[in-house]
Symmetry: none
DNA sequence: GTGGTCTAGACCACC
DNA sequence: GTGGTCTAGACCACG
């Protein structure tokens, strides 16, 4: 069963998007694996203190992207093959790094400076 | 006079926010400097093909953050000291890099891998 | 739910500013308290006979000053701790009295005369 | 010749209004008296570092209120009788005190508290 | 239903 | 001409 305890919601971004991203990051980090069970919408709604409609929206998106599989009245499960994992990985990581690179370039920050800043700010 | 010709608007984010960020990045890149004149709301509105109220909203935010100075009936100017520049720089760059680091850590990406990905994806 | 029935608008000052001040004075007078629900933009707009955008502007300012809390799709609530209340009180009352004192001094009115004028003009 | 050296302009209020009020307060404080000469518009414009049109607007208002007397191409003079002084005094002082009283009442501040606050905040 | 953004256009105060 | 406020109404994202 996937745990959402480490998910801390902030309100500068839609809640449903944070839930979706949390799952995707878990998949990339391999803490979420093929076949794992999702909590029911009702339970997750209570856990996170969030409107059930919001949970429903997150699950719908995950299903549309082929990441989970739901049947009416039944439990939902993660559904992944290795191709899916690496495409999620690429989509998630490379797009985030790409966005940062674009931002740095527009701000006149050189590649070297960006790398050294990242070195310095990264704390394990 | 500050030029907004290089600002290309996308519609996945509020226009006013893109204008604000464009100015901040210009300040960090030192292409926008203390004392420079802002285009009038009407002019920039025409240049960008955007409603004057949207420009007004961006300018209001910039003024509330102390970056520009507006007086009724007079032109608007950029108002910066070196402390302001470095605080904008920190806010803009370090927060963006910090967010990326957090994302990478949550995705289980190591520091080395993140740096090498950034090396590889950065195209001048 | 906060009532705006006693708010009478005059047109010598921006409407949004009058709404903001009305809320602040309600807080100082303790007729508005932590956790109370704000009317929705649409409802207050109808109540006051004012455009929704004007209400939105007032609410935005209140939120930027940390007095109310808004989330897209959810109702808006007053959010106050005792420190906030006293700072609003100081900002509102002491600055108004301070401005009056400055004005009186510049006009050559003595403390005694000002106090006696105030005694005389105050009608319950 | 009336001195405007003590007039410090702030930009939260129209400049012309600040000039007008400065003159009125000087009259109430009797540091400005009947027959005194006003600086020329050109000179005052330079002294205050303000657009000549703004000075012109202030002078026009003062003239419309019968406080100064201007002839084309000639100097301007203050023109006051005792009735004028007391009406300016009433208009200026009592309206300011009256506004404060209204504000205090809306904020739930009692007469006694307002008077004691004023006592306490008044520093010679 | 609720909040947020945007367009369109008018009007005013100010310099 | 320039900045600021307001109305009117549409549209979208969110819960």
């Amino acid at each position: 069963m996937i745990s959402f305890e480490k998910l801390i919601l902030n309100d500068s971004e839609p809640i449903y998007a944070q839930i979706v991203r949390f799952v995707k990051r878990g998949i990339v980090a391999e803490t979420i694996q093929d076949g794992e069970e999702m909590p029911s919408r009702r339970v997750l709604s209570a856990t996170l203190g969030v409107n059930p409609n919001t949970i429903q929206k997150a699950y719908r998106i995950l299903e549309e992207e082929g990441i989970i599989r739901s049947h009416a009245g039944a439990k939902s499960f993660v559904q992944l093959d290795s191709a899916a994992v690496s495409s999620i990985r690429a989509e998630l990581i490379e797009s985030e790094i790409g966005a940062l690179i674009g931002a740095m370039q527009q701000s006149g920050v050189s590649k070297e400076e960006a790398l050294s800043l990242m070195q310095r700010l990264w704390k394990e």
